[in-house]
């Protein structure tokens, strides 16, 4: 399995560390409803098919990536920069590599 890092280009999966489901959002800490926090920490959709997930390019540029990967076929349909670099993928050196 290879992940096409927008910054570094296509790299083997061993360079990356898995960060889990990329769709979950931490509730605002002002939210006192425990259910929202329990869902954030423990509950997952765990789909069989396309899955939006986070990967950390720990053996490369160290950017966090938001990857859409099929959990049945391992086919990767999109890779984007996560966090404050979100949306920057097109300007990254690995874009189109």
């Amino acid at each position: 399995m290879r992940i096409h890092c927008p910054c570094c280009g296509p790299r083997g999966v061993a360079e990356f560390s898995y960060g889990g489901d990329g769709t979950i959002r931490r509730p605002d800490l002002a939210v006192t409803d425990t259910d929202a926090h329990v869902a954030y920490v423990y509950e997952r959709e765990n789909p069989r098919g396309p899955h939006v997930e986070l990967w950390h390019h720990i053996g490369g540029c160290r950017h966090w990536l938001r990857v859409t990967r099929d959990t049945l076929t391992h086919e990767i349909s999109s890779v984007e920069m996560a966090g404050r670099f979100a949306g920057d993928a097109a300007r990254m050196p690995g874009a189109g590599a």
Binding site: G12, A39, R44, N46, P47, L72, H74
Partner: protein
């Protein structure tokens, strides 16, 4: 049921083995049962057996989408142990160990349970301290545990790299002498045959595709072989838990599906007579009766339903095994394969009523569900029959995450890939 014995073997040998009966029937599904179990793996089959044997519920069916043994029950590395740290885990797995000790006799089927011992190697002084603590925790529950020094380990496992210059020098180990291995397929077949003999319908090639509901209650299932009704439906589908429960409208669970690979080498003469685990990484190895070395390591660490793994883990496992037992590096790998496991958020299982009325859930087995097969079925049968958990599985509820009573044996946090 045709009883197996030395005499029956002799009698059938004389007639050229032509008169053996099939071990279980192949019935068509009835329109309704008193209870249905979804999933004909080890846990589903043992649940059916104990429902019939301990609770007198015999009008029940096990529905399996493939053939018996096609899931993890036929894919694991067969290790059976009860060497845990947390009391709730120790009590449950030790009850499983006690059931294992009488299982072949109980089922009248040789599950080849071999109490060859499980030895965890320690490579640092702090790891040895940690093992002493775990051993004490086991002994407090009446479980056998022995802390071994360097020389005792060297005597027990001759092939280990015990040189002081080893990459990870061995300082000692924790041994559970009563732990060991069992023949995984035989466990599925033995439970299937014994359940069938008590009247349980085991229905293969029958995939559950939906649930029947009446006023919020689950009252049966839709399958590829038609609708089947039952007031109680137990789900024991291991890595497919999220998929199957989504059919009942449960969208989120504290579970992720991950692939675990296993490996077997070409057969060699007897060299390893116990199960050994590497303490500097994650590796467990034993030798099968056929002579192959059977071993495994970590999961691939990302969500997967692919039932096959990737090469980085293969490379990692091979380097671990050749650091620990250098002679293995000269053997050829015969086969490797993967199974999809239901990794839970705290690494501990779920055996519970719910999450909907009429539904019961058995899941979250992670790396270690094979050894749990007898106790899991025993406790799940109790839970389904009496609509409440047995004290042994009362800590394994689904709402423990909500209540803050997680059972995180390794203290690794809510990350399935870490358990």
């Amino acid at each position: 049921m045709q009883k197996y014995s030395a005499l029956s073997l002799l009698r059938n040998a004389l007639s050229g083995h032509r008169d053996w009966q099939p071990a279980w029937r192949k019935p068509d599904p009835k329109p309704a049962y008193d209870a249905i179990i979804v999933g004909g793996g080890g846990h589903g089959l043992s649940t059916a057996y104990y429902l019939a044997k301990e609770h007198g519920l015999t009008n029940i069916a096990v529905l399996e989408k493939g053939w018996l043994g096609s899931g993890n029950i036929g894919r694991n590395t067969t290790i059976v142990r009860s060497n845990y740290m947390l009391p709730d885990n120790n009590r449950f797995y030790e009850w499983s160990m006690k059931l294992w000790e009488g299982l072949s006799l109980d089922l009248n089927y040789n599950v080849m349970f071999s109490q060859r011992g499980v030895l965890n190697l320690a490579h640092t002084p702090s790891q040895l301290d940690d093992y002493a603590r775990r051993g004490n925790s086991m002994r407090l529950e009446g479980i056998d545990a022995e802390l071994l020094g360097r020389e005792e380990v060297a005597r027990m496992v001759p092939g280990l790299d015990m040189s002081p210059s080893a990459r990870f020098p061995v300082l000692g180990g924790l041994l559970q002498p009563r732990a060991g291995t069992a023949r995984h397929d035989a466990v599925a077949w033995g439970y299937a045959r014994a359940a069938d003999a008590r009247g349980v319908d085991i229905i293969e090639n029958c995939e559950v595709t939906g649930f029947l509901r009446e006023g919020g209650r689950i009252v049966g299932v839709e399958t590829t072989r038609g609708e089947i009704r039952a007031p109680k439906v137990g789900v024991a589908v291991a890595g497919s838990t999220s998929q199957v429960l989504r059919l009942a409208g449960i969208e989120r669970l504290p579970i992720e599906s991950h692939v675990l690979q296993a490996f077997v080498s070409e057969p060699v003469k007897p060299i390893l007579d116990c199960v050994v685990t590497f303490g500097a990484g994650h590796l467990y190895i034993s030798q099968s009766d056929k002579g192959g070395l059977v071993f495994g390591g970590d999961i691939d660490k990302y969500n997967s339903y692919a039932q096959r793994g990737n090469l980085p883990v293969v490379e990692h496992v091979m380097s671990e095994v050749s650091v620990m037992l250098p002679f293995v590096s000269r053997l050829r790998l015969l086969r490797n394969w993967g199974g999809i496991m239901d990794m839970s958020m705290d690494g501990s299982p779920i055996i519970t009523t719910g999450p909907l009325p009429g539904l019961y859930l058995n899941a979250g087995w992670c790396y270690g569900g094979f050894k749990a097969t007898p106790a899991s079925g025993w406790c799940f049968a109790w839970t389904m029959a009496r609509d409440e958990p047995h004290p042994l599985n009362a800590p394994f509820t689904l709402d423990r995450f909500q209540r803050g009573y997680v059972l995180d044996e390794r203290g690794a946090g809510p990350y399935p890939k870490m358990h």
